[in-house]
């Protein structure tokens, strides 16, 4: 039907010759076979690989936050690994406040049919900041924004780190943190008051309003604030 084929098809598992994947059965809780990537990472990065766990058949690698970008771009580019698909970026905070907050990256290698979990632990009291992997994976854009939105973790190097699911003027904090109550931090009356007092002109962010014609139609006040470099429409 299609006469021209400008794409060369990419077949997942093409590099994993002869291995037919099968549904995992009777997976052991701890201590199953380790992903071959773990050994390669230890060899290449030494002490930056802090810990390797195998839980329910999945290999988790705890890496040093300072060398995360290096590890991720190595995993992506190394011909023997080729982790080209970023599945997810998220974080875990435990109910025990003494435990570190974990930032989790799930990556897949489509050519080798491998799955890997990378973790960076942020100890209590440390700054909630990890490097962004956006330079390697464009899919990290929204995933990191969501993680920032929900946990307040800053991804250094992300080009446009702002809230995504909550609105830009949201001031109650970071909803998925364990110190955030299920019903929100503000009372219902306060939430209602804020909603009613919101400026309907703030539908557009300042950035969007700077698009030519719309800028001319702005009230003087907003034009002044925009020229001072304000980013959000409050």
């Amino acid at each position: 039907m299609n006469s021209s084929a400008p794409f060369t098809p990419v077949i997942a598992g093409s590099a994993a010759a002869g291995s037919a994947p099968a549904t995992p059965k009777n997976v052991s809780h701890r201590g199953g076979p380790e992903s071959p990537t773990a050994g390669a990472l230890r060899e290449r990065f030494g002490a930056a690989v802090k810990r390797v766990d195998v839980v329910w058949g999945e290999t988790t690698i705890v890496v040093d936050s300072r060398r995360l970008s290096e590890v991720v771009s190595w995993l992506h580019d190394e011909p023997a690994q080729r982790y080209d698909f970023l599945v997810d970026v998220t974080a875990v905070e435990f109910r025990d406040a003494e435990l570190p907050i974990e930032v989790v990256w799930h990556v897949r290698s489509l050519p080798f049919r491998r799955f890997l979990r990378l973790k960076v632990l942020i100890e209590k009291g440390q700054k909630l900041e990890v490097p962004s992997v956006w330079a390697t994976y464009k899919s990290a854009d929204w995933l990191e924004r969501e993680c920032y939105d929900m946990f307040g973790i800053t991804f250094a190097g992300h080009p446009d780190l702002r809230r995504i699911l909550m609105w830009e003027q949201y001031r109650e904090g970071y909803p998925l943190r364990k110190d955030f109550p299920l019903r929100g931090r503000f009372s219902r009356s306060e939430q209602l008051r804020q909603a009613l007092s919101a400026n309907p002109e703030a539908r557009y962010s300042m950035d969007e309003l700077s698009i030519a014609q719309a800028f001319e139609d702005l009230p003087d006040e907003m034009r002044r604030r925009l020229s001072e470099g304000e980013k959000t429409g409050e």
Binding site: N26, H29, F85, D88, F115, S139, Q213
Partner: protein, 437 residues
Amino acid sequence: MATTKRTVDVQLSTSGLDAQGRPQRVPLVTDESGNVMTLDTPPGIEPELAGDHMLINLGPQHPATHGVLRLVLELDGETVVRCIPHVGYLHCGFEKIGEYRQYNQIIPWTDREDYLNSPGNNVAFALGAERLFGIEITARCTVLRVMTCELSRIMSHLVWLGTTCIDMGAFTPFLWAFYQREAIYKLLEDWVGARLTTTITRVGGMAADVPDGWVDQLKHFVRTFPKTLSEIDQVVTRNAIWVGRTIGLGVMSPDEAINYGLSGPMLRASGVAYDVRRDFPYLDYETYDFDVPIGTSGDVYDRYLVRMEEMRQSIRILEQAIARLPDGPVNIDDHRVVLPPKSKATSDMESMIHHFKQVMEGPRPPVGECYVAVESPKGEKGYYMVSDGTSKPVRWRIRPPSFVNLSAIPKMVEGHLLSDVIAINASIDIVMGEIDR
């Protein structure tokens, strides 16, 4: 991306020319025989004419945004220069709520995220929770879940097909698609009593075994559905308007598609043969015989072709599943996780204790974490669960395929016309319930 030139044999009810002999739609050109159309990709951004860029707000309440998606578009004439998506209007904190619920109590929430694929989400969550508990499900349950997943895939693709046809101006396929979707809803209703929010699984099994005669109804559906599918195929695939409005739009090359994290039909339309069912199998999918269709151009038309073929493959899988459906129990025989029958709870002391412990405290998985992904109709849907040994997860993370697919929309629409934004947006197959969660 170099401009691609594709030829599709289209069927025209008319010559495609108006009274003056000009083509009725600009991108269409007829050859001498009158039915071969060569369509170029739309031109890129035209040289800037005098005048300002315009700000257009598309949505959040717009039927073509399939929910409450809002796109702020910067236009140069009719060409999109920049697209700024806004999501979050349906955010209700599913992941937060999940941290306050026992595992079986979370399953109803999974209905409500990607609500076109509720049974598939239920299966995905149950698979994840079972990994966390270290449970192996029964043979009958495995096959029933495969049926659930594939019915759910057909259901979701039919909604996609119908609504996308409406977006492109075709109404009839919508009615045909929804008629067949209704048949699947009837099957689900007979099984669990619910249509949209099915909550069809439990940790360790299913809500119920299929009722008597259900498999015969499924056989009837499997027999009759391909006819509707081929009718839609005849009306749409070579339709000049459809082809003219979908070809060459929103092209993603294989490398870009992988890098942007696209999954499901979006990724496969870009020529990447990655299917979770094939590459990271679950529910014994490796034992089923099915093909993974891939596209050759990565445009909206290819995404349509891939989804159509996936429905045919789902029918193939359903046929095989019907043939091999074994007898036996549906739920595992472990009353620490699965409730004993109600009759025993009132007559047997131990069963009553199990009932009490499970309802009041809930089953407790060991400390651990797992990420279990399934191939949902939208793409790779994964649940990442972390347990600290209590009956409620510390973290329940949904990996939403539409969310990641939608994040590539600025890349896909920039340089295209405003009217093509609708087609490209429709081709992503977004469900805002899943994006905003």
